[in-house]
Point group: C2
Chain length 161, copies 2
């Protein structure tokens, strides 16, 4: 096995491991407020882009690629999100947070602030940025880059090439 092979395999599995670890921690933390990680991403995005159609919401979520029909269905059932028909085009559905959803949005925001602060304490700030810069390069030619850009999660949009 060449060194390049080792580096690539190590990279591949460390990305997977980091995502899994983060997901498990988010599972536990969100469970305490009665949510899943996917639901909390929806609530955060919805809190900043209200009202929005299902399709447009789908284009803002990192956690899921297609249109989040069923994710939203569950959230409607749980009283977190409301659907509203589009006045002139019945194909669209507008989504809004309910008061309960809005309340959760603030709880999540507080939680995330703490989480980001803690994460920042683990590394020199510049080290995290360098990792992100490399990942951004890796993702820049994939469809998901659009989503990241719309979410304002990319640095230097001019250099996404």
């Amino acid at each position: 096995m060449t060194s390049a092979h080792f580096d690539a395999e190590r990279f591949r599995y460390l990305i997977l491991a980091a995502q899994r670890l983060g997901q498990r921690q988010m599972n536990a933390s969100m469970k305490a407020i009665g949510l899943t990680p996917a639901q909390s991403e929806v609530i955060r995005v919805l809190g900043q882009h209200q009202p929005i159609t299902l399709k447009d919401l789908g284009e803002l979520l990192i956690c899921e690629s297609g249109s989040p029909s069923r994710l939203i269905d569950r959230m409607v059932q749980d009283g977190l999100v409301e659907k509203e028909p589009h006045p002139s085009d019945a194909r669209f559905v507008y989504l809004r947070l309910t008061p309960t959803g809005t309340e959760k949005a603030r709880t999540i925001e507080e939680f995330e602030e703490n989480m980001y602060r803690d994460l920042g304490l683990l590394f020199p700030n510049q080290e995290m940025s360098m990792v992100s810069d490399t990942l951004q390069k890796l993702l820049s030619h994939s469809p998901i880059a659009d989503t990241l850009r719309k979410r304002g999660l990319l640095r230097d949009p001019a250099e996404t090439d």
Copy 2:
């Protein structure tokens, strides 16, 4: 929003996005050989650690945390894996690749070699290592670090602190 906050949120979602992108590409590639990404990780690990108990296999998989009972059940049904009772302790089950499974192992190995080569072409080799070093530090105090170490995916095991 502070810059540290932005850096941490960007990092968080880039990890998620990279994992999702990789998973989707693996989905597509493995589908061509009739497998899922989780199944292909099992086959690769099993190819190098045969025979092995379910529990020990679970401790070698990055893709899943618990014991992979159902993942293996499906692979047994699909004729990829065989179960064999432990001679003296009926709690254990030994797992082995079937001839079909062994064949798939070689196909996967070839595919991965190409994938790792392609990935290596995207970055200066040292850049990928630096990212991995940071991720390794992040994961070093989590349970998943054991798995990574057993899989030989960590560099400088002495410095996991």
